[in-house]
Symmetry: C2
Subunit: 503 residues, 2 copies
């Protein structure tokens, strides 16, 4: 065991302080969506502003740079001191340096302006969506696009301004790579959608009134089954399901318990958020306070949720074990429905207007559409006012349907209102990563279907912990995937998975 | 309207920042007692330490003193600039100055040592209480007493070291005043307890299984009835009921909803915490960020909870209106019980071992006992090892009963483990203040019993808001009581109230 030099230990102490502040901010966000009294919003805004500004101040502080400078060359980003430092410690220094450099590229005033505009735009978006009124949203969205272009300029890029934004969610990802991946994926998905879109199935048994306590018990049973650390998480109720990790010992997820759609509305959502949560729990606390104990990227995060929700939670072997339990708990819905019918009913492919309700096949087309629009907006080849038209055209081309209103079209997502350009691709990348992990896992364990059918899930959890979770930000997503699966990221694994499942 | 000078406005901005930090700390404390996953305690400790240290740093910062110095003489505490400043603004400056002076008296290292020792002592106390083992607790309690003496020395005092500690909870209160108040109260209470202690009443109807949702509905109905601002509070479940105010628009209370003791276990607790919460909601947000928008003292806080729990919630007129509702909701318990029997059953006087379960008459004797011990410990006339003996002796003299174990005796409260010497008197002061407010209110509204019997409570809420809540810390407790009631604080109002009710 090497002994890290004092400089490094002082840096970790500072890192822990910054992590602590971020974790408080995370908790405030969770509280706002779950328990905060509605009139407490004014105070909450002050609290969040104060913390965000303090975090920014700490990250860009002279004192952090003074701690970094004996270890890394601040200009070149080359390590100047590696003796006694492990691979993880060297990685942490580089990642801290990257964060500092990035934070310093964005002027304080710009960060403030961006946050204020986003906050206003979200409020306008909510009204515009309600009224299905794009023109009301237009000037605000134009401002967010313009600010995002400015953001890309501040952050800097080599080939495409969108690369700068992508990097915030998916380190080192580029437009060139995405274009290649999506070019291989899009025609395949359009084609598969057409092929699948003929099944007609009576799925009424999925809906009904479900006893809330029974639903909650099943939720916790599923979380335990996929390997959750008890006493280190919460599952609460909120309008929209989400998961945040304050720390591997304090992970908070939400789902609707009162729902008339038991699978998509609750159980599969809990597996989805559970996948996110398991990733947070799997980060290595040995490196607490360093970026090695932080999640790698939005795409990798999404791969974990998709893995459990789709690759496991929508699979036949999984339900071979769990379906009898579902039947026992809700006999009025499921006792007379055979497993195979149930399995088909939760895997129906049907083009639909709303991304978050889309199936495994069409989902990525929704996202690719958004990526294409974002890229054009940021490079300036698409005017914001033309979004509704282009959106509808693409929906028609990709899925054969056209949104009757903007609410069901380009106003459906909150992301652009927040200025989160560059985020959407994570959702497809999540599918691609998950498929690649899933393929490797099944090759490693040829009996994985049998294990799943017996309710054994821990071999999967263990594999993900070992090959994904514990590394945090140590490797780039691309490196992590190569190390874990032996191949560079490719869309072929997802295509193979879908082909096998749906053809 | 006077225009405050820029110096003052800059000070308010700083005050708002410090308030914001404190409100975050409050929220973390609430979360810890309600929803935090048990294993999240480690992170929570880091978060709280970080915030407490930051608050201390801000309060003792040069920058705060620089903001104060044009407005107040830092040495003498005399205002140097009053032009354009309202009474509240002048008060705020003096109070900020007092806080800074106090914070600077306590060395950083001492604050840290105290907090660490308290945290350890609380853990030992929990174990010692479980095992009813005072000797295990002894060395730790000795340390807390010794640190509290040191604290009194740091803070400074004129007559009695305990005065320094008292001032932290009840500004300007002195041992001399308390001794006089309690000397007038103690023999009266001992005597009244003996006189009352003969009633025998079958109260089994108070206990049973109560539908949780119905209980919760009643809770919110009561909170609404006493004037709660909807959408600006929460009522949750925790092991021990409490109330914290993050801000007048975000007040958080807890109570047990699942209880077999509907009155003491829930409804009267909700009125108690509701009294605290109503005070927090009644602070004047015009002065947000200044001490004028902060509660005055623990005694005044307790007066508000006692007012609603006891002076209203245990009164006959109140239940004239609400008892039929109780009967309607829980007919199996109350339908055949006459109002008068119910009223007597919730006002039984009977000496008991545990303070928090004590009735209105004996409660203050429990507290006076603790005050007498604390005072002797701090002045050094009582050794910590002699506590159990003296405790039992006093219990026998005051209430005629002796605890069979330390768990039911001197180990029952958490306060000393936290080093909260000086806090206990607030509980009796709360009764005295409440009685005095109650007396004035009834003199102002001679028909108050009739109003209560009709379910009208808002005239009381309005009076309390007008005469107590809105002033925050502007006046000392003594001044506030004089202004609100026309008389200095006296025990006679409480004695009169008890005499009328129990004789």
């Amino acid at each position: 065991m090497k002994t890290p030099p004092d400089h490094y230990l002082a840096l970790v102490k500072k890192g822990q302080d910054i992590y602590t502040l971020k974790s408080i901010s995370t908790l405030l966000g969770w509280d706002q969506e779950t328990y905060m009294p509605q009139k407490g919003l004014g105070l909450r805004s002050l609290q969040k502003q104060y913390l965000e500004s303090l975090i920014h101040k700490e990250v860009t502080s002279e004192s952090l740079q003074d701690l970094l400078s004996p270890l890394i060359h601040l200009e070149t980003g080359k390590l100047t001191h590696v003796e006694g430092l492990s691979l993880e410690q060297q990685g942490a220094i580089k990642l801290w340096h990257k964060e500092v450099v990035k934070a310093k590229k964005l002027p304080d005033l710009f960060v403030e302006t961006f946050a204020k505009a986003a906050s206003e735009t979200v409020a306008v978006w909510a009204e515009a969506k309600k009224a299905s009124d794009f023109p009301v949203f237009l000037p605000h969205l134009e401002k967010m696009v313009s600010l995002s272009k400015q953001r890309a300029d501040y952050l800097g890029y080599e080939d495409h301004p969108y690369d700068a934004l992508l990097d915030e969610y998916e380190p080192e990802m580029k437009v060139a790579t995405l274009d290649k991946l999506f070019a291989g994926l899009k025609p395949f998905l359009i084609d598969l959608t057409k092929k699948c879109h003929k099944t007609s199935l009576d799925t009424h048994f999925l809906y009904g009134e479900f006893d809330e306590q029974k639903v909650l018990n099943l939720d916790h049973l599923l979380l335990k089954a996929i390997g959750f650390n008890e006493g280190a998480y919460r599952l609460d109720v909120s309008m929209h399901p989400f998961c945040v990790g304050c720390h591997p010992t304090d992970v908070r997820m939400t789902a609707l318990v009162k729902t008339n759609d038991l699978l998509s509305g609750n159980l599969l959502t809990v597996l989805h958020e559970g996948g996110h949560g398991l990733y947070e729990q799997g980060l290595d606390t040995t490196f607490f306070g360093t970026p090695i104990c932080e999640y790698l990227s939005m795409g990798i995060h999404e791969s974990q949720s998709k893995f459990w929700e789709c690759f496991v939670g929508r699979s036949l072997p999984f339900w071979k074990h769990f379906y009898p339990l579902l039947q026992k708990n809700f006999p009025q819905n499921f006792s007379s429905v055979p497993l195979n019918t149930f399995y088909q009913s939760i895997n129906l492919v049907k083009p639909s207007l709303i991304r978050i309700y889309a199936d495994e096949v069409t989902y990525s087309l929704h996202v690719i559409l958004r990526y294409e629009l974002e890229k054009s907006l940021i490079e300036g080849s698409l005017a914001v006012k033309d979004i509704p038209h282009v959106w509808n055209e693409k929906m028609s081309t990709y899925l054969g349907i056209t949104p009757p209103t903007a609410r069901e079209g380009c106003l459906q997502d909150i992301h652009w209102a927040w200025g989160l350009f560059g985020y959407f691709p994570s959702y497809v990348l999540g599918n691609l990563y998950a498929a690649q992990f899933h393929h490797t896992l099944r090759s490693t364990y040829p009996d994985s279907d049998e294990r799943l059918a017996q309710g054994q899930l821990s071999f999967m959890t263990d594999w993900l912990r070992k090959h994904v979770h514990r590394y945090g930000k140590l490797y780039s997503p691309d490196d992590l995937v190569r190390r874990a699966t032996g191949s560079p990221l490719s869309e072929k694994f997802f295509k193979n998975y879908l082909t096998q499942k749906y053809q």
